[in-house]
Amino acid sequence: MLEIRNLHVNVDGKEILRGIDLTIRAGETHAIMGPNGSGKSTLAQVLAGHEAYEITEGVILYEGQNLAELEPEERACAGMFLAFQYPVEIPGVSNTYFLKTALNAIRKARGEEPLDAVDFLALVKEKMKLVHLDEKLLHRPVNEGFSGGEKKRNEIFHMAVLDPKLAILDETDSGLDVDALRIVAEGVNALRDETRAVMVITHYQRLLNYLVPDFVHILAKGRIVKSGGRELALEVEENGYVGLEEPTEVLQPVGY
């Protein structure tokens, strides 16, 4: 589904990603872990198509398409979703109106009829339950006045409604208490099936207790320095990132 080859990315002329290779197949969940400043969020933003991030080398293929050729909204319409680390507030635009606009834009791109108000509301009610979203948040402006936890939950709610093929979660666990963490994880788990893939970006292992990954990759200084299974995350929890800063033991990336 996603194939990243030798990806180098600059931000403001500074190289942040320095040769990433990663393959994610349908049905898989990959965790990307790493210390602060290792390039985790850069990877998420590049995948979503943020203009400030410049690909200097390498290629990203999403379902065989060169991602660099797609605008951010085209990527979204093709089934990519990024749950933001810092969800953005949009005053004056209600959460439901926003979501309906987004969903119908994606449906239009897929050649589907727009969802009418009744069907949309039914869908929203169903997905709200998934993340225990307070109904009042539906009618408030997008993320405005939401608590940190509500914002993160709202991201997962958006994801559930938009029904992506590849979901990228950028530190969705930060700022969440254990209960909220479990709810968010359950929301993501409900989406997991053999046709979809999930990339979880996190600093800590605790989310992975609820959202169990198939693969774990350690990112340090813009490179994947170690890849493994679930146990790698536990190892990090025990020992921290010490000793993982330099690529001592580069495993063949999954999928090769």
């Binding site: 943020h50 909204e73 979703f81 933001f84 953005v88 949009i90 004056g92 635009v93 938009l162």
Partner: protein, 482 residues
């Protein structure tokens, strides 16, 4: 809604009535302005003596006035002797013969607004051959109104059929001495609308210039007068959401509203005249004086405006709150893009006791445009317990535009309560990126954010206007981001 053909039909009848068809040559006054020209205009329109006198007085006063320089707008000086002050409706030969000859950008806008083909032709000024329907919407509509005693006609018709009403109310809210452009309009006004709603009558439908005879050619000096007698109610929609093809650069209109005891007037405008091109060339100068007088007790006047067109907009729809307990409202969205300039706002003059006013202004600036809110809240000595609430928000799109706010408050009675809130915000790239990541294109994202910003004003618009106004903002904003 009448089709283009109906409008053409009305136009044709009108021409016949005044004999325009027979002699087109003499129906254009020579360039320039003097008392002879004014006499010519008045004679052409068969006006009664009092009106000619009033025009002449206005003209003489205008000569003593100077063009205002205080608005926050810039434009090359206007040569008032280089304008044709009277011309009969254009002959077909001067107009584009089909839509193929019309500016494709204009056509693209009609397409996006979903305007029916026939109407597009009318708006673009295409010479449509009139094919008459036996019963036009306009005729049925007029019949229903006249049964209720409501007068809704062109200003010229009002002068002819209801001269006493015209004489009584004309200039009673905006005297010809009021300001430079109002004086000019009073001297040379061409036509416009007249509405009179009698005592106790609630006008059952929104009155729109769409339905008025001769709506397509009111000219650049439009004059509108709306009177709601005791306990009457009327909602009036001015203009059209589609851009109008228009060669006239200067538009100086005057609108006067009069509300008697317990009467209510709601006046909504969507103005989308030609704003000039992306480099700031051309476009309409829209210098308008709009004022309402709440003459009676418990009367109410509401102005709602959505201003997206014109190269320069200079207008302050205002309320004189004379009657005790009267209410004035002003809801405004002013959007400027490219090199457009807008200096707009309102004046709320509290004279009577327990008078209330509400001002909600939303200014959006994009491109290299400048957008100014200018408002005056004046509480007179006798205005016990007057109240005003003002909310004035600006939104900036991009780095090169400007937003300015000049609120004036003048209070002469210490029982007054005045609130003023203001904010300035910017559409951030992070907001746009967030929307795009969810599948929403940049243009849709901007339009969604701007519409959210304007929600409180759109709520005040009649339904069909609100929908078009939203589309219109989206179109006006095209190319302003990214």
């Amino acid at each position: 809604m009448p089709t283009a053909t109906e409008t053409i039909k009305d136009l044709a009848l009108h021409e016949y009535k005044y004999g325009f068809v027979t002699d087109i040559e003499s129906d254009v006054a020579p360039k320039g302005l003097n008392e002879d020209i004014i006499r010519f205009i008045s004679a052409k329109k068969n006006e009664p003596e009092f009106l000619l006198e009033w025009r002449l007085k206005s003209f003489r006063h205008w000569l003593t006035m100077v063009e205002p320089t205080w608005p926050h707008v810039k434009y090359p000086s206007i040569d008032y002797q280089d304008i044709i002050y009277y011309s009969a409706p254009k002959a077909k030969s001067g107009k584009p013969k089909s839509l193929d000859e019309v500016d494709p950008e204009l056509l693209a806008t009609y397409e996006k607004l979903g305007i029916p083909l026939r109407e597009r032709e009318m708006l673009a000024g295409v010479a449509v051959d009139a094919v008459f329907d036996s019963v036009s919407v306009a005729t049925t509509f007029k019949k229903k109104l006249s049964e209720l005693g409501i007068i809704f006609c062109s200003f010229s018709e009002a002068v002819e059929h209801h001269p006493d009403l015209v004489r009584k109310y004309l200039g009673s809210v905006v005297p010809y001495t009021d300001n430079f452009f109002a004086a000019l309009n009073s001297a040379v006004f061409s036509d416009g609308s007249f509405v009179y709603v009698p005592k106790g009558v609630r006008c059952p439908m929104e009155l729109s210039t769409y339905f008025r005879i001769n709506a397509a050619n009111t000219g650049q000096f439009e004059r509108t007068l709306i009177v709601a007698d005791d306990d009457a109610y009327v909602s009036y929609l001015e203009g059209c959401t589609a851009p109008m093809r228009d060669e006239n650069q200067l538009h100086a209109a005057v609108v006067e509203l009069i509300a008697h005891d317990h009467a209510q007037i709601k006046y909504s405008t969507v103005q989308n005249w030609y704003p000039g091109d992306k480099e700031g060339k051309g476009g309409i100068y829209n210098f308008v004086t709009k004022r309402g007088k709440c003459l009676g007790v418990n009367s109410k006047i509401s102005w709602t405006q959505v201003e997206t067109g014109s190269a320069i907009t200079w207008k302050y729809p205002s309320c004189i709150l004379l009657g005790d307990n009267s209410v004035g409202e002003f809801y405004s969205v002013a959007m400027t893009n490219h090199y457009q300039q807008a200096d707009t706002g309102t004046k709320m003059m509290h004279v009577g006791k327990n008078t209330k006013s509400t001002i909600v202004s939303k200014g959006i600036s994009a491109g290299r445009s400048n957008n100014t809110y200018r408002g005056l809240v004046k509480i007179g000595k006798a205005a016990e317990n007057a109240r005003n609430y003002t909310q004035c928000d600006s939104m900036l799109i991009g780095e090169k535009c400007g937003a300015h706010t000049f609120p004036y408050i003048d209070v002469k009675n210490n029982t007054a309560q005045i609130e003023h809130e203001a904010s300035t915000s910017k559409i951030g790239e992070d907001q746009i990126f967030y929307c795009r990541q969810r599948g929403i294109s940049t243009e849709d994202a901007v339009s969604m954010i701007v519409n959210g910003f304007c929600k409180e004003v759109f709520r005040e618009l009649p339904m069909e206007f609100a929908v078009e106004a939203q589309k219109l903002l989206g179109i006006s904003l095209e190319g302003s981001v990214g």
